[in-house]
């Protein structure tokens, strides 16, 4: 499988993009030239210079450094959110599909009810109730998204459960837990990875979107969506203030998406 | 004996790595005779029949050789010319009838469209023709069938409908590729009897199968294929009573029939 990924151009490009963003996030302190939160009113809207590679924003903060640190926020929120989502939805989706019958039907109805509310609405009301803060936005995103992921996992498990080897494992005396952990989960893992790597892109966009709307992340934090939001008034006079974070969001989301989509093609070449 | 179809030096190779899959296959199909092609999986029997029908994807397979049908080499005809021959003069009945039908279209409509594509008939005439032909296939409640979607019918019924469609255009040759393999024995028996009736009308058949029982029941001539080559050919009696190659003997021996059974 690793070989096939390296052969696929789209996957390699996606992988490189992901790697660049991850590199930036990890080594942000070494790449950034200034403290991203340092305000210097004298440098308001400074032009490109050695000190400010991409200039300064309306409060005289170094745009370049803010963008670099922004990678930490994007990945730092999206990846933990995704891991928690993965654990919750895999557990619920697998258990529901495996037990089946009435339990599964009730779970499905519950999911349907949940899915009737758009994620945005759920997040809005949760952030409203919990208040601002990175942790709260993470909770809100998990709460609004788990059902979508759980549904997908459930459908993978339902498909897998019908296959002959599951019956065969029962016959050779495997317990239900053995069947789930040794047979079903390893077999849905590839599809699962594809779904989650495209999911990262969605979550990054979602979080940037929420912070653009002023939800969850406090003003002044160098998060890309928040940067976009605070640059809004300068759309006509300083469009670059909006374009830079926009490019970073696009780049990151595109990287994960390209990789995820390529992975999907590799795993199901018949295009299912 | 006049030959209806003559296959000369048919070679099929994989485009990807030039690996030959069917090697120097030559045989004739006599007018009004049933030719059985027998072989196990990987013998190239299905590819051979598909090559005759020009059904192989040119991007995957290179087909060389001659398939002479009424003075024309089918392999060198243009797409348009081929469309005129296929269905009209040469029909195919496939192993899996489910995939041969459009799942979203009622049987009646599919029959009418097939007939109208080749014959200058009105919708009503085509429909009546279809109904008559289905009745001949031992199918009951024909108008109900005409009004159903493929997935609501059983495999045996679909197979019979496919044969009916193949017969509607009164072709000269029908190629049946493992057409009865997936069917119950009782349905298989009905369909093989139908093949013999088709033969009585002077139509030739190529019956591709892995089962010597099918050959024993319907074929006049037999070719035995293994690994892409014809290893033995002859009339059905020569093959059964006097097989020359070890492989044919092994195939014959692999049948499980109890000896004392007599068949009508």
């Amino acid at each position: 499988m690793v070989k096939e990924i390296l052969k696929n151009k789209q996957a390699v490009i996606g992988l490189i993009m992901m790697f660049i963003v991850a590199f930036i996030a990890v080594f942000a302190p070494f790449i950034a030239v200034n403290n991203p939160e340092e305000i210097s009113p004298a440098q308001k809207f400074a032009r490109f210079s050695g000190r400010y590679p991409l200039g300064a924003d309306q409060l005289g903060r170094c745009i370049f450094s803010r963008l670099i640190y922004g990678a930490r926020y994007s990945l730092g929120i999206a990846i933990p959110v995704l891991l928690i989502l993965a654990v919750i939805s895999t557990f619920l989706g697998t258990v529901s599909a495996y037990i089946g019958g009435r339990f599964d039907r009730i779970f499905s109805i519950f999911c349907d009810i949940f899915m009737a509310f758009p994620p945005l609405l759920v997040v809005l009301s949760l952030v409203g109730a919990l208040g601002q803060g990175i942790l709260n936005i993470m909770i809100a995103v998990i709460f609004s998204m788990w059902v979508w992921f759980a549904r997908v996992i459930r459908s993978y498990v339902l498909m897998e459960k019908k296959k002959g080897y599951v019956t065969a494992s029962k016959i050779v005396g495997c317990s239900d837990i053995q069947i789930i952990t040794r047979h079903i989960i390893p077999n849905i893992l590839p599809a699962f990875i594809v779904y989650f790597s495209t999911g990262v892109a969605g979550i990054i966009l979602m979080i940037s979107g929420f912070s653009f709307l002023g939800l969850g992340i406090e003003a002044g934090v160098p998060e890309w969506g928040a940067m976009l939001s605070s640059a809004k008034p300068y759309l006509y006079s300083r469009p670059l203030l909006l374009i830079y974070p926009g490019i970073f969001i696009l780049f990151t989301a595109a990287g994960f998406n390209l990789f995820g989509e390529a992975l999907r093609d590799i795993i199901s070449p018949e295009g299912g | 004996m006049s030959n209806l179809l003559e296959i000369r030096e048919l070679n099929i190779t994989l485009v990807e790595n030039q690996r030959p899959i069917v090697k120097n296959v030559s045989f004739n199909v006599g007018k009004g005779r049933i030719l059985g092609i027998i072989g196990e999986s990987g013998s190239g029997k299905t590819l051979t029949s598909k090559a005759i029908m020009r059904l192989l994807n040119e991007k995957i397979f290179t087909v060389k050789g001659q398939v002479e049908f009424r003075g024309n080499n089918l392999l060198q005809m243009s797409e348009r010319e081929i469309e005129g021959v296929m269905g009209k003069d040469i029909s195919m009945i496939m192993q899996n009838p489910m995939t041969a039908f459009d799942p979203m279209m009622k049987i009646g409509k599919q029959i009418i469209e097939t007939v109208k594509a080749h014959l200058p008939l009105s919708k009503k005439q085509a429909y009546d023709m279809g109904v008559q032909q289905l009745k001949k296939m031992n199918l009951n409640r024909v108008s109900e069938i005409m009004n159903s979607y493929p997935h609501t019918l059983s495999g045996g019924m679909l197979q019979r409908i496919m044969i009916a469609i193949a017969l509607l255009l009164e072709p000269r040759i029908i190629i049946a590729d493992e057409a009865t393999t997936a069917l119950d024995v009782s349905t298989q028996s009905i369909i093989l009897d139908e093949f013999k009736k088709i033969q009585d009308k002077g139509i030739s058949l190529i019956v591709v199968t892995h089962d010597f029982g099918v050959i024993a029941k319907v074929a006049n001539d037999v070719i035995v294929m293994k690994d892409g080559e014809i290893i033995e050919d002859g009339t059905v009696h020569e093959i059964f009573y006097n097989p020359k190659t070890e492989y044919t003997k092994e195939l014959l021996k692999a049948r499980l029939l109890a000896d004392e059974v007599s068949y009508a």
Binding site: K163, K170, V172, P186, N187 | S189, V236
Partner: protein, 264 residues
């Protein structure tokens, strides 16, 4: 050893108009399986024979009726007891490839029942697995491969090795040789006959093929529309079949030799 009493299985579904319909897949089936005899259950598609296999192995629950193993009601067994009982009751399914987990190497697939039902150390386990592989006449290299790298016949042999690894008293073969090439089928049937003498297991062979049934078993049950229509002990020839459905099946069998009219 196994007693099936008035076993029924219904499926409820909805028809096109949304009305509830029930299908009686297994309808009031009773029979007894005695130790060291061989049984075959013959039926066409839709006869309910596979459902019956799944009921006996408790993969599915019956709607009513009883299945007794060694005079113990299966439905009264606890989950754990039932799981351990599976060591006595093995099943080989139709599709070899799908019965093997595609991501697990052959070695571990064969090891699975051994690990589940016994506690032996790694060295004994390895010895046992290699021994089993030889018993099903496969080279030891296959142990290091994945299921899709093997041929259909090899996969089937692995499934057999898996089933016999725990020395079961009873093995159900659900269409276990259909879909294989005839020569491969013959070899596998002969292998099973040899293994039976060695293992002293009781075979319960489910098949649509009367030839296969007669080849492998002395006691034959014929199933149709969920019911057992005929049960014959110690069958000697086709003339032992009395029920008209069985006779129809026999009449549909393909001939062993070509008829004289084909000679031309």
């Amino acid at each position: 050893m196994l007693e099936v009493k008035e076993l029924c299985k219904q499926y409820t579904g909805r028809d096109k108009k949304g009305r509830k319909t029930t299908i009686q897949a297994v309808d009031n089936v009773s029979f007894i399986v005695e130790r060291n005899k061989s049984y075959a259950l013959v039926g066409e598609s839709g006869s309910g024979k596979s459902t019956l296999a799944r009921l006996i192995t408790h993969i599915e629950m019956s709607t009513s009726g009883q299945i007794k193993i060694d005079n113990k009601d299966m439905s009264k067994m606890g989950k754990r007891e039932l799981r351990m009982k599976r060591a006595d009751f093995q099943m080989v399914m139709q599709d070899g490839q799908s019965s093997l987990d595609p991501r697990i190497k052959i070695y571990d697939s064969i090891a699975e029942p051994i690990r589940n039902f016994s506690s032996i150390n790694k060295k004994e386990e390895k010895e046992k697995i290699e021994n089993l592989t030889q018993k099903v006449e496969l080279p030891l290299e296959v142990l290091n491969r994945f299921p899709h790298e093997l041929s259909g016949g090899q996969q089937k042999r692995i499934c057999i090795a898996r089933a016999i690894s725990v020395r079961p008293k009873f093995i159900i073969f659900d269409e276990a040789v259909s879909g294989l090439d005839v020569t491969v089928r013959k070899k596998i049937l002969d292998l099973l006959l040899r293994l039976r003498n060695e293992l002293k297991s009781t075979y319960f062979f489910i098949t649509h093929d009367i030839d296969v049934a007669m080849y492998i078993a002395k006691n034959i049950l014929v199933m149709k529309d969920g019911q057992i229509v005929e049960q014959i002990e110690n069958i000697k020839s086709f003339s032992d079949f009395k029920h008209e459905y069985s006779q129809m099946l026999i009449k549909s069998l393909l001939p062993k030799l070509p008829s004289n009219t084909q000679r031309k």
